[in-house]
Amino acid sequence: MDDQQIKHIIEAALMAFDEPLAVQHLKQLFGEQPVSGADINRALEQLQKDYVGRGIELQQLSKGYRLQTRPSVQEWLDNLRQNKPRKLSRALLETLALVAYRQPITRGEIEDVRGVAVSSKIIHYLMDKEWIEEVGYRDAPGKPALLGTTDEFLNYFNLQSLQDLPALAEIKDFESFEQSLDFNEQTE
């Protein structure tokens, strides 16, 4: 099977299945045919080049590949769209950020950092979207569930891995600052 043919089959498969396809899936496409992982990677690379300068692009994800529209054309697509996607609330984003950066994390630990109770609605929404899931239980009284993000989260936020998340701000060292703190602040 020549490179061109392999590329065509992969391209069609990426469009025909409504989930990202892993290299293992792409191999499965070719059944008994002698198509190697290297052949598939070459085809993917070629596809990526083919889409340069087009309205769609080939995006590599944590587990697989996806054809998607380019973010730069989204505002035009929006004009034709009936329902604009809902904005995510700050409470939801903060909760999701804590799960993403601090996983595995319990609900109690999320509440500790945010200083407010985490609403069940938010957790349900995040689980419903399959962005977070229970990855186990902490060995502590009450066996609280440990939450972690999913591959679907990475896919949805266009990330290849958790390492691609924006870096978390550094904590200023309180210990070194403490000496300069003034203990005798005046009263009013």
Binding site: L14, M15, A16, F17, D18, L21, H25, Q28, I56, K63, R66, L67, Q68, T69, P71, Q74, P85, L88, R90, L93, E94, L96, A97, L98, A100, Y101, Q103, P104, V113, R114, G115, V116, A117, E133, V135, G136, G148, T150, D151, N155, Y156, F157, N158, L159, P166, L168, A169, I171, K172, F174, F177, E178, S180, L181, D182, F183, E185, Q186, T187, E188
Partner: protein
Amino acid sequence: MSESELNRQATQSEMPFALVEGQPFTEMPTDLYIPPDALEVILEAFEGPLDLLLYLIKRQNLDILNIPIFSITRQYVEYIELMHQLNFELAAEYLVMAAMLAEIKSRMLLPRPVMDEDEEADPRAELIRRLQEYERFKQAAEDLDTLPRQTRDFLPVLIHSETGIAQEQIETVDIRELVLAFQAVMARAELKTSHAVSREVLSVKDRMASVMRRLQSGQTTRFDELFTPEEGKQGALVSFLAILELLKAHVLELVQNQAFGPIYLNLAAE
């Protein structure tokens, strides 16, 4: 402490807005005073007491690390009282924070025993730690919001079809096979030892979570794919311990297609 510093502190608490970071302020910043009817809207905008406190501190351009606890406490309590007057039902957390501020304030008023100087921490330390931690994640949430995301910033390209992907069938496996497979992993890790430069802290607990995550999608993963040879022996051991812990808890299942074939892991059926 130098005299000028003392002066600054004194002025700041007597006339809170007179000096901010050394800059004289003759007028009160208007954004600290919120018309009562706007309060409800504004309160909705706060994600809890830490967020409100952070707002009060930032409005004054003050450093989190050096909160003027007296003026901040006063502002915070004024805020809470105003909300009470408006019969606004407050989340209990806001009151807990008011109590915490009052406690810090009273502890700062007490003279510090000279002998305990080394042991006694600044009463503000815990609050500062929490504010900083909250601020980091507030920022992280904003960063997360800017990432291109599906539906809002891009759409997957697909031709509508209801095709599912076929899964291959596999059978169960003996734990001894697992130990043999682990030996192979260790042997491979051995080869990489000369490249190990930095020391990484590895915890079995974290590893358990990451193994679970890898398997959560319902996919079957090959045993040796769960190891990263670059982590060396230590990393391989942590991964192996994590897998054993998960097997013990019956969260994972071992499978093998044929005798002495590769071992696969997947999530145990509920």
